[in-house]
Symmetry: C2
Subunit: 398 residues, 2 copies
């Protein structure tokens, strides 16, 4: 089915559910890998039950699982285990996001699988990783964001630590797992040997905090929550407009001069209270209302247009409706693409953000119905015929 | 120098500065690629001037540029361009994060480089990407977070849109660029042809919002800012302890029962106001104080210990000092590692979060001093001798 793409010819057995794992294998599928999603017979990925729904089909699931093939397999049955091991012989990558130890309990842990296929790349993503004292703890996104320190640095002075409004721990881990799997595939082409790629939500969050960690490691102080401004330059902050908010990023004194000019107060640029960046950082509480008084006089778009024309970096704080209608994001960059789903009909999902000039990632096929590709996959990989397939179905193996 | 690692044998010419690009090439270097960082003679990467400092050396820079070699090269000089083009013949990957069009103006854009080396993988990261109506706009992190919709979904009811407390736009783009480059390298091993990988901060942020986008695309409503709680389950939120805050994630009614029991109020589990998850979500304003009254009675760690023992998913909202001292994160997972820098001496940087079992990413060498590897690199790649090197130095080409 996937005949093109940068990862053409890479076969992935995908045991992942919900978010971090499926996001990772979605990127692989968008780039042309043959991703075979393996779900529990009769039930499937939990996220098939997550809204919003279109004709009872989960758009949560349909977004993250487009471009994948779907089979069912009961890994708790002996025959299911045997089938899975046969499939591993024909695969390049296995990805799972169970609680650590689950695959071992099922008898299909990495140590077993690499006996069967020494070239297999085994990617796993979990809350805390597959080793270390906390490995058995449950790892929801909020736990990754809390434990890794991200929440402590997000929010407002005097306010509470704040969760980033998307499942950022899962997203960071999904991206990082993809990197690890692709690096391991590269290594395998050189050595013939596969390996285990162990990515955790917590580690991924910690890695994302590079300068925040350095502030504590070097200066011994915990970075404070400072809202939308930035510690080292000002104005680099959010400002209210008549219909919402925008951000302005003046990285240096020249840009501050441009801002003063467009605000109609060029004399401010020479005002010795604010003429140099360190003074503006120290007096940010005085600078903000000077700028905001001006931005409040017009809409987000009027502000951004004037600022960009005056050479001042600025952007709307887009609500999602604005993102989805934006001519750059939705238009030129094709970040929302149509799919045609056999039950849900036509809908839009989020496109690939990794733009490759020669092997363009594309959304070719909708997410699979539960077990949709049982016939095709089990025939191709294992040579199973119609009668055998029916027997497997009857015995609830698939 | 880099003799091992999953990306052993991959040579990267790294023109990137500050954060998104250097974070991407840092991951490549940690995994064993030979990353040659090319800086402006006499000046170098802007982030060499960013604090915190150790003996006048930037720990911001030292963290993101460990494991890389450093050379200087003036790309504005004719001889500098010639040298760069010769290096491209010997490289697998070029990475840059200039404003789109800058490389073309210098005469070393992708179209030129692929004539020189058709196998070259050209990775670029920018605010808005290399095509589309906004491509020439400046792309700071805050602009990526604002424009992509992330800020609109982060924060508190009635409060302002909130920037995530690390440069998340840059981090997401750096991870995504790494994925694109590794996928393009994979494709090159199959076809011999390189390609351009174009990643933007805005697209990367949009991709991170998968379910948030779906809510608007399907239901036509903008997701609201709801603080730390979650739309579909409760209690899945933050709660105050005597010395800070923690998170609790009760994904189902059974876990709520466990929580009621450990709080010493098992009868609450049967209380028909709160016995089913949808009721708790609807009445989250009543549930929160019931739980918080109990968590406030003890410290973060006492709460988390009791909750985990009772089978309730929970975690501290770690401040950075706690992350850095944590026996799992800092201990078992080795997320902070020592380097010995020739000027700064011994310091800690953030370790690799991508745990590979056979080709373990390691921090082997400190970030380069400006031009530290000029002799080594120019000799090895171009056969330049000591006299020629001195001439290049005298003419300010390197």
């Amino acid at each position: 089915m996937m005949e093109s793409g940068a990862l053409k010819g890479v076969r992935v057995l995908d045991l992942t559910r919900v978010l971090a794992g499926p996001y990772s294998t979605m990127m692989m599928a968008d780039m042309g890998a043959e991703v075979i999603k393996i779900e529990i017979p009769g039930k499937g990925d939990d996220s098939r039950q997550f809204g919003p729904f279109v004709n009872d089909e989960s758009s949560y699931f349909m977004n993250l699982n487009r471009n994948k093939k779907g089979v069912t397999l009961n890994l708790k049955s002996q025959e299911g285990k045997t089938i899975f091991k046969e499939m591993v012989k024909e695969a390049d990558v296995v990805v799972e996001n169970f609680r650590p130890g689950t695959m071992e309990k099922l008898g299909v842990g990495y140590e077993t699988l690499k006996e069967i296929n020494p070239g297999i790349v085994y990617g796993c993503v979990s809350g805390f990783g597959h080793y270390g004292p906390y490995k058995d703890r449950a790892g929801y996104d909020i736990i990754g964001q809390a434990m890794g320190g991200l929440m402590s640095t997000t929010g407002w002075p005097g306010g509470e630590p704040t969760r980033t409004g998307t499942a950022m721990g899962d997203v960071l881990a999904g991206l990082s797992l993809t990197i690890g799997v692709l690096a391991a595939l590269r290594s395998k082409t050189e050595t013939g040997i596969g390996q285990k790629v162990d990515v955790s939500l917590v580690d991924s969050v910690v890695s994302s905090l590079e300068i925040i960690n350095q502030i504590y490691l070097i200066e011994g102080r915990n970075p404070e929550r400072i809202g939308n401004r930035y510690e080292s330059v000002y104005p680099y902050d959010s400002f209210k407009a008549s219909d919402g908010s925008l951000v302005i990023g003046c990285g240096n004194d020249k840009l501050w001069g441009n801002l003063c000019k467009v605000m109609g107060t060029p004399e401010l640029a020479q005002d010795e209270r604010f003429d140099r960046n360190p003074k503006r950082v120290a007096k940010h509480k005085e600078v903000k209302p000077l700028v905001e008084k001006w931005t409040l006089e017009r809409t987000i778009d009027e502000n951004v247009d004037m600022l960009l024309k005056a050479g001042v970096p600025a952007a709307p704080i887009n609500t999602i409706d604005r993102v989805i209608k934006d001519p750059h994001i939705a238009g030129a960059r094709e970040m929302f693409v149509d799919i045609e789903h056999p039950k849900a009909g036509k809908l839009k999902v989020t496109g690939s953000h990794i733009k490759l000039s020669e092997t363009k990632p594309v959304v070719k096929t909708p997410a699979p119905l539960l077990g949709q590709h049982n016939g095709e996959v089990y025939k191709e990989l294992l040579g199973i015929d119609e009668n055998q397939l029916q027997e497997l179905l009857d015995n609830k193996i698939i």
